[in-house]
Subunit: 531 residues, 2 copies
């Protein structure tokens, strides 16, 4: 016998008693209300440690220690005396008297409906201010110095965590428009409708209802035909790239071509799972497929509907070239991160709609609704499906179910499409405000990619004309803007091969007056930088 | 200039017009209500493709194709005619006439408040039944054959996906008790209270409010002192193990000791990220620390408060031995998966409470509330914190925020503790029902680990007495039970070194009558198996 359990119910080892639980273990009692537990989870109190004649003093002492060492911080709520007395199997008087002693010494107090709470400062107060400073490495004071720190891990998070007055970082939709009422209504319907089994461990590919809803969404909005069997729900495009990176490595692929310029975050994601990234230039037609061929890379990550950060669309000729490269065995990873946002041009169908079995396709609700939901989808060719499901299983056993089911309702009911139409109008107005502000405050800037998306890119040539180099580094400009309270991404963060300085400017998240002021601040910072 | 964007706003390239957006691009219009978009996301319709005199016919044709090829399945809703007309910049009459033609041919119909929906079957109907069959490899008919398939990836998922009448799989609390009302109330408060920035990209370590709430929970219920800075919110213990496995590998550790018997799922998780697992025996005192030392492994994963599956507690002597092994540099990973559930014994403090800087500690709400929430926490020693944050960042940029904030409220308000007290009473009654049923229907079984948790383990010796081998394989017993509609885990799934046959039986999830019937079915299956 491998395991000898001291708590084994002895009557199950041969006795024929019909009530084994009650028979041999005095601490077991079948009446539900008796609270037959020994000790309390609260502070791990074990009444066995208390002297029989000194339980009140023992309990008061344990509470005092917990307050002193910070386990019970200010505001912490104590259990109701009745509940704690039941768990410890002492009379209620023992608990109320212990509470009274601590109340007398000013450490706890009754707070009406809130119950009894800790009111005295522990002797070693916690420094919660530290907690607000953001992820490791992003402490206050990191500030502008951050921009010079290359493309180290956590650079984007560190910038996010810094305080600012006006945030023009790219990649975020109008978050104030988040449909709180619709979300809560859908959540109420979900909670009323799900069965107990839905709260258990689920399919690692995601809730069937969401996978069906995503299929409908992709058919209506992105021209993609798919089956729910093809869809794996993931925690955003970030997780999609991590999982794809893993399964491609397991397949012997260790180099992935990426657009240059292209997303720093996506590049870091692939590098973290062990890939070398191979830069391929982007021009007015999108990714240079000839250069991709010449690179020898067997896989490519690209943003064909709205290239990040330049905003160009992969043109028809390049699409044909890329699809024939894929037909010869190249792995195409389509990051369709914000294709639903467009203003002055027709929609561009997804590559996946042209070659369903030859394209890995990733999308998410980050730009449709909110990045903080961490929900996206990944579709891969049939021969990689099992590997993907296995990777997702071992990543996290699947996404959280309630968020998935709420999203499925919002997609099925048409609310998400209505929301998208609504924010598109707002985004477009903000885009126009930013264009006017750039025209006014950044006369030397050239604007790229204004027809779609949530951001635009500006590049700078020498304001005095003629010279090819504009004479400053965009990281210095971003740092100068941040020191004046305005957060932007320097374009060089998203370049592998050096190029002219520039900025990537998000216009969707904030109100018009902030956009105008933010660009004015950048203009002032730029004038200060130039000789 | 790297990127030449055809959609660039030309007025930003030098012109001084104060209204650049309207000046040079006829498709841009600053009046918000005019719907200045070109084409529609819906079906990627591009009005530029339509002959000017045949727009109605073109639109009707596009809709018919989408219904025929399945992009618009039965039940799909069409946009309101006003909306679609605006997006396409056609008169509303073009859309209503196209809709009328499809309605006449019976393909779409008005459905009052629901709008206009597709009612005709597409020519190639999708097979949604396939979707219900579960993850890859778990199709109907896999059934009992599954149990003989060794420890291949997805074994546990495949079992989960199979239909059954009575599910006695371990690891799931009473899901019918999920506090739906409390959850919705907390969600309403969260949605009323969060700011727009909370919907953006957040700290990869998790929402500060939840990290503070977890610190309070661990102090009150598990004896652990921690700072919110120490806590990383993860997608359950599964993700915690995957991330730890990654950072240990990067640190040159490729072998991790595990308990034998121990959790199959946990072992597979470590193997997937590239570790060899080293079995260390478990006896009545828990993990054999002497054997751990002898194994030469530099890291160990264990379940000290309630060993899975045997239910034993790591005893005081073993704790001391293990902590001195950790002090000499051994990496201890404490999986505290269900320590909050106990019935007939005092609470056992976490190892982490004894050696805060020397133990990696993982817990989750899977056994407190519901596995489907996919929320847990991981605390690591200070020297591994940066590596962990980086791993979590690249895994998924952090957990979804709404679920985190709702959980924080439930922890801070005391509701989660109340819920735990409530389900503990229910679990205890169900445990007692299972013990009685085993006594009645499985007379040869020996019960282990009944004092705590959500499952118990039974082992079988030869029912005729004397012989050491009981004469059957537990996978055959589990298969026979499943063919009779009852799902259980064979103990051998959770063993590395072979041992006596047994079962791991969850009693918390289902009602009493199912438990009694399920055990009776197992008893009948067993009698049928024995010679």
């Amino acid at each position: 016998m491998v395991a000898m359990d001291r708590s084994t119910n002895p009557s199950a080892q041969g006795s024929k008693s019909p009530r084994p639980a009650a028979a041999a273990d005095a601490s077991v009692d079948n009446t539900a209300a008796s609270g037959a537990v020994v000790g309390s989870d609260f502070l791990q109190l074990d009444i066995g440690e208390a002297p029989p004649s000194g339980r009140t003093a023992w309990l008061a002492d344990r509470l005092r220690s917990a307050i002193a060492d910070g386990r019970l911080p200010i505001g912490a709520r104590l259990p109701a005396s009745r509940v704690l007395a039941e768990e410890l199997r002492v009379t209620r008087g023992v608990v109320t008297e212990a509470y009274r002693r601590l109340a007398e010494s000013g450490q706890i107090a009754g707070r009406g409906r809130l119950g009894t709470v800790v009111v005295a400062a522990p002797t070693a107060p916690r420094d919660h201010a530290r907690d607000a400073a953001g992820p490791a490495g992003a402490g206050a004071g990191a500030g502008p110095a951050l921009f010079g720190s290359g493309d180290r891990d956590g650079l984007i998070d560190a910038l996010r965590a810094l305080p600012c007055r006006i945030d023009l970082s790219p990649g975020v939709p109008d978050l104030a428009a988040f449909p709180r009422t619709g979300w809560l209504r859908a959540e109420r319907a979900v909670l009323a409708g799900v069965g107990p089994a839905d709260f258990g461990y689920g399919d690692p590919r995601g809730a069937p209802a969401l996978r069906r809803a995503v299929v409908g969404w992709l058919a209506r909005n992105r021209g993609i035909r798919a089956d729910p069997e093809d869809v794996v729900v993931v925690a955003g495009v970030a997780q999609a790239l991590g999982l794809l990176g893993q399964i491609l490595r397991a397949d012997g692929i260790h180099r992935i071509a990426v657009e240059d310029p292209g997303s720093l975050g996506a590049r870091q994601q692939l590098e973290y799972v062990g890939h070398a990234v191979v830069p391929v230039p982007v021009d007015a037609g999108g990714l240079d497929v000839g250069a991709l061929r010449a690179s020898g890379a067997r896989a490519v990550l690209l943003t064909p509907a709205h290239q990040f950060p330049t905003g160009v669309v992969l043109d028809g000729e390049r699409r044909r070239e890329l699809l024939s490269w894929a037909a010869e065995g190249g792995v195409v990873i389509e990051d369709d991160y914000d294709a639903e946002h467009r203003y002055d041009r027709p929609p561009v169908p997804a590559l996946r709609s042209l070659l369903p079995d030859g394209v890995c396709y990733a999308g998410s609700v980050s730009k449709l609704l909110a990045p903080a939901l961490r929900v996206g989808w990944l579709l891969v060719p049939p021969d990689r499906r099992d590997a993907l499901v296995t990777a997702k299983r071992y990543a996290d056993l699947g996404n959280g179910v309630l968020t998935q089911l709420v999203l499925a309702r919002l997609m099925d009911s048409g609310e998400l499409e209505r929301h998208l139409r609504h924010v598109r109008q707002r985004h477009r107005r903000r885009r126009d405000v930013m264009l006017r502000a750039i025209d006014r405050h950044l006369p030397g800037a050239r604007v790229h990619g204004a027809a779609a998306g949530l951001h635009l890119m500006v590049t700078f040539s020498d304001p005095r004309g003629g010279a090819r180099d504009s004479g400053f580094r965009d990281t210095d400009l971003a740092a100068a803007a941040l020191s004046r309270g305005v957060k932007v991404h320097p374009l060089s963060w998203h370049r592998i091969t050096p190029g002219p300085p520039g900025l990537v400017l998000g216009y969707a998240a904030g109100p018009a007056h902030e956009i105008d002021e933010g660009i004015a601040v950048i203009g002032a910072a730029l004038r200060h930088l130039l000789p």
